[in-house]
Subunit: 336 residues, 6 copies
């Protein structure tokens, strides 16, 4: 028999989403395991509400090894005062908390990639249960969702905010207006290589304004990239009217990823030596990187060349690369 009413979420929040003021609490998700028979995962959450107004959902560490979001959001949660807010801000600085705590992209519990697990399942893995709670409880409360990403431990990106092309052109316009308000150094019309299961799609399909980012990577964050993230979050809250004042804008370069040709994948294992750095302008045919076989000296490296004119928007981070890894992403500057 197929059930028509979905099972309720096992997540028990310790905050009251309807209450005014500042609340620091947890999403408690039961997780029975060998080292804790009746244990739980405790995901930190902060709710700041005051008066009438829209709701913004701000999330970081959807992938556990991406740090601009958590750095900006732990600070924002600590410093934002309710009287500054008109409406409600829900902050989850580390959405895939088990992954964040482990410093890994995916969850150490179930190897779940949270951003490939939406809309989730209430009776699935821990990662799927988080996705389900976000889908059925957090996103419906929100008018606008900002989900922070960067390259994690294995990719590095030019710092950009992004939205996607959407079938509803009005919604698309609202999303890109929000990207502009975020005001990162770069702004991207983004193409996903594998969009199935993403929070992005889940939010967009509910008709909400959605902004994502890629603000650096290499498993860390810099003073500069954290500042971009903080300013962007505040700008967005101003843009939707939750905070007073105008967004503090700065020069942004608009980029586009016109096709899957933007992505280059390694066909060889070895030591990767890039010939150009992030942000460099390249012409089709320019050398991007060499991959050296590591078992012997004297062997010729494989050479990877640009498939199109553009700027180097993303690159592989670790010194060693494996066949199949994404080597680089090129983007086209559309407002040069």
């Amino acid at each position: 028999m197929l059930s028509l009413t979905p099972r309720p979420s096992p997540v028990a929040p310790t905050v009251d989403f309807a209450a005014a003021g500042v609340q620091h609490g947890h999403l408690r998700l039961p997780y029975s395991r060998d080292d804790s028979a009746w244990g739980s995962v405790m995901i930190p959450i902060c709710v700041i509400a005051h008066g009438e107004g829209p709701t913004a959902l701000l999330t970081g560490a959807n992938h556990g090894d991406e740090y601009e979001g958590p750095a900006a959001l732990f600070e924002l949660a600590r410093t934002l005062r309710p009287e500054e807010v008109q409406g409600r801000v829900i902050i989850v600085p580390a959405l895939n908390y088990p992954a964040f705590r482990a410093g890994t992209r995916t969850s150490p519990i179930d190897r779940g990639n949270l951003n490939r697990s939406f809309p989730g399942r209430p009776d699935g893995t821990v990662t799927e249960k988080i996705a389900d709670f976000v889908t059925r409880h957090l996103v419906p409360m929100a008018d606008m969702v900002l989900d922070f990403h960067s390259g994690g431990k294995t990719l590095d990106f030019l710092p950009y905010a992004a939205a996607h092309a959407l079938p509803d052109k009005d919604q698309e316009a609202r999303c890109f207006a929000a990207v502009a308000a975020f005001s990162a150094p770069y702004s991207m019309r983004m193409l996903e290589i594998d969009a199935v299961g993403m929070l992005d799609t889940t939010v967009e399909e509910m008709g909400k304004v959605f902004v994502t980012t890629e603000l650096g990577g290499a498993g860390t964050a810099s003073a500069t990239s954290i500042a971009v993230a903080r300013r962007g979050a505040v700008n967005l809250l101003r843009h939707v009217g939750i905070l007073k004042g105008e967004p503090e804008t700065a020069r942004t370069y608009w980029l586009d990823m016109p096709s899957a040709d933007c992505f280059a994948f390694a066909g060889d294992d070895g030591l990767v030596a890039f010939a150009v750095d992030l942000g460099a302008k390249v012409r089709a045919g320019d050398l991007i990187a060499r991959i050296y076989p590591i078992g012997r000296t004297g062997e010729a490296p494989a050479e990877y060349r640009a498939s199109m004119d553009g700027v180097l928007a993303a690159r592989h981070v670790p010194g060693l690369i494996k066949a199949g890894d994404c080597l680089s992403v090129l983007a086209v500057v559309t407002d040069a």
Copy 2:
């Protein structure tokens, strides 16, 4: 009974160090184990010799997750022609080859930190056997040793070449002259926090010219840092007369680490958010970084402030930090 003659090294080189021309071979080190009863570790080595002249030993990946050295040296080994050489160049692009292959600082075989294992032991662990062969066979052949380092996966450095204060002031002067010839963006009079077991000391105690580097980090290398490494290696070979021509110099900033106060260590676990980036000038008391507890929102972060005036010369990389990790290193600019 204590033996007076040390046991011979088990390492069998497949190159002839006395032969002229280019040889690409291996240092074969027997390593019996569960998945290969009569297996070996095969460390790539290249010897390029021509005519009379000094010998330079160039080594990379002494720590397995540091990539400027291997990237410069695999390329140099592949492209250097014997007729360009006057003397001999011995290149080992990945000295702790098991660690390099695993992408880790230390060896996956025995968790050996090669640069804390010198002078090594012929009957010790695999890492100690590598150190012993270097100490007793490679270094004695060399007049000059260049050992490439960077920050690996957990530290990031301003790009510098370095030498140490030495008791023999003449030797010290020759080392710093070599550092100057290397011509990295920064040049350091380096203080070691834990010098026991380093290749540096082993080479210096034999009275040789020794240059080390820290050229970046974060478990990767950039086009820029690889170019610094390549140019530096060629400059040094020119400096000692193995290659013709003068070193190609560039502006370098001289730095000093006057005391152990340069180093700051985390006293707390958490999410680290730097307030300044590498190369930034700071005054004593300036905020360097915050460390946020990650289990709850709303908690005050621990603040770490500069202990002295200087520039930020190194920093912790991963977004999470643990109590005891080196948070930052400050250095003093001595030629400003």
Copy 3:
């Protein structure tokens, strides 16, 4: 196409459930893996049958680190003679045998928590296949099911037998009569925090008499708790008429868990120091335990206090605790 007839179970029993006498055999469950291409899991089972009468199913190690059940049931299987029996006794001393063999709550094969895997799937994981065989083959043969539990390695309980409130009040009464016959030191009207997937529900929904227990914990069993388990099993077999004679009763204290407030969860990581022991009577507001941060001396511990009047019925075992772990369970004495 959705299949209407479920796939047959892959489990092959080596015993004949219809035969009289004593049989010691296995449930053989094919499990192909790297270290055994055509391997199987072999779950020990014993069937003792004689004459006409009801069937009792006695199971232990549903969670692999709970030992009173296996200790009582290996002994009972070895010593019960068919001529003592009127009907049939099916004994599976270690239901999640892979977990039992590993000494872990969940299966080392698939991390399956057997008691969250019912009713199971014939084409699922190994744990789900065990659940499916129990659901479709063992339980239907039984009139009464006794499933032994204790706290495992991470919880410790007052020794009690238990049944649940059930919609069918007649069935509920039969279950509590069986609990009374078991005659443990304590008897519980039990509340489950997460009842989905439990054997309990599966059996109860088939209308059978079901008794469960929590007889201690800490990953071990004592001479005393094993004696309680043995006496309880024999008492139940007498109660249903499979063995002759009356249950050997003893004083039992009846407990109730009136609401989810019985459970306390840690909000902090650290060293747990209980202020009261199992069985202690507490008043609302009494100190139950302190949790000390472990990274520094001199820090104030978090204090956890009783949410209600009652007795301490269960507690966390390991000296260290993590946020989200169940710290304690209080119960109310209903027959004092």
Copy 4:
């Protein structure tokens, strides 16, 4: 809502199945993970096409630790010239490439047993995605499929090609004709102990000619068994007219597995000492092997005896055996 159109496969081939000539490429399967955020699995594939004619699909390393297939197919892919071919040959020497690379039966990514994962799922695990691509894209192009197996690291077999009894007797006859053309030392009418999820069934249900093999085992291949595999593959290509000439036949012994009694499973852990070797003729009751308890000397071993007359067709390889492992397989010679 149940979807009626299946999701497209995420696999991106870098070869053009419609092109003539020789192509060496990959099946690129996106696989996001901690050590490669946008990584892929790269499965080598070769397509050799020329003129009109049937298509043969030749696959090895369906289980990653079986080596006759890969050894024959890497060689065939390298040496077969298009002008020799009439039709098309698709060669995937290592179908479960992650398992093959790890030297394990199942995939190190998801522990997937590829030959129990058919027909697969486009949104499943990596192993299920491979199965799905084979089912929906490779097999439909083929007229004949040859899938190489041997015993892997834990079983050893007499060298045989095999087909199954099929409901369509005409198809069955074509399959056995192909087995005869393969001309291995033994030819088997094979019984599967657990046929759910096999490539065999998937291909057979599409009405294609399917040949499988068991050509040895013990985690290796011999010069002899590789020669059998190579000759068999060429023979089959000749048999279906893709290559010119007649199959090069040799004496084959026809075997049958009349029932599940062929299989013997260990009931004990210990050291296994076989009393007969592969190919030996045994009578019902003959000693096949002893299993010694290993904790003490002086204990009596368990003895395992033949359940029927036949030849020893397969045996357990590792010196230690666990209860539930397949100890031996007997077969009946049908053409003696």
Copy 5:
């Protein structure tokens, strides 16, 4: 060349042992590793000094899974006021801090058993470096050392304080006087089965007063056992005059371990079912425990019987036991 002056300890304390008042700091021990190139182990330490008087060194978690010591000492360090002290109290609540943090007996870094690593080495493993610092820096400052132990995760003990028979009978008398002052429920004249490398011997050989304990086990602590530990520590500080007042004594039973016959070791793997509990009086020949083979029902268990008259002073905890594990320890009551 053999060095005559030992290398200095790499440990850097952040407390000043000569200063008055309360200090909460760390012993910082550099530990370079893959996940922290310049990392350290940070062992919490507290020094409370006031006026002239003796020095007491109080240590816990010498084995990382023993909790009475840490629970008593974190509390004592937090609450003891300098003005109560006459002399100095040095408290290290978790001596093998890496093991304590991991909840394991031995260090996760090097698997070092700290209490088999004394006197340690300054250039050894992390565990040996801790031992060396204790031996050369902490113990020499102390007049009295109290080192808390219990049974850890695999043993459980009657709660006792203990001293050893010593060659210096005057020292022995002072040690047993201190044991009497501690006033645990039991007091033991202890026999060590493997005394090489213990802190005990190191301290005793320096002529100091040394008290050790075994206060329970099973990887936890109870409200009762923590209270015994706290009272014992305070009693000892009173006994040596650091705290004012008389020890608060209670009835203690004196026990002796006359020979190695006290210890019983399992000769079989299996499920252990004790027949008597801790503190029970047994006669030679009484059943102590049965060990059941777990692969089949119906097998006879091995029976272990008392080798002497005495009380059960310690037992194996986990439900499963392996050949070679210590099953039980008997002791003789000497003051009955």
Copy 6:
């Protein structure tokens, strides 16, 4: 201070080496660890003594994954009656018992390769403690030592018994006479590539008769190879007069390994395809094996050719090979 008297062995045998008759017991070696605080390793041992006569020490599983020795010796220990013996037979079927139990060459406890750990240390690792007990307690009791080896999981050998060239030619002659008496299909004058730390040398330096073997490999044993091992052991006991009667001889081929050129090592990673099988006669220059790169089809394999005329005496087993692995060993037939 250097100690002159070595520390006593911690090993406690449960057998009396001076007693007559059959004893089955253990060598109990204390091994404290996380999962057993006071645990031990229990190595099975059997002593069979009767009347006056020499002592033979028979050992298997010096490497844990070699099975002819254990299979022959568990059987011999079980079946040899004291009245058949004149003198004493000490049988240790699994010398590196932890490795044997794990099915690995080296010990899972410390990764110790027992046959590179002699003479051992009483205060070293578990493996070194075993070696020390053998060196100081077992070998001195023996007149003759037979140590069984085969290729383990990664090598396969022609079945031979062997002795070494020794400085004492009389001892050498006695050793080769014993090899002849063993009467394996092949007999070898063996060259060791790495003799440091072997039991062989330890025994030979005490002037004893020592026989070793290589009787197959691939991580298993066949009916044939076990029969060779059993007959050889009995033949040796007859040869030295412990058993009555003459050795039962058979045709043996004498082989020699004239130099290190016998050994070939892989210089490449990949899939290995042998062109000849064990026992095949080859001429210098004949193809021995190909190694295929596995990442792509169409690549040329590396070819390995015979360095000398001879027979293939040993080969690599796993289908995949790594650079540095021993590919093959050639031997010269000296009695053809």
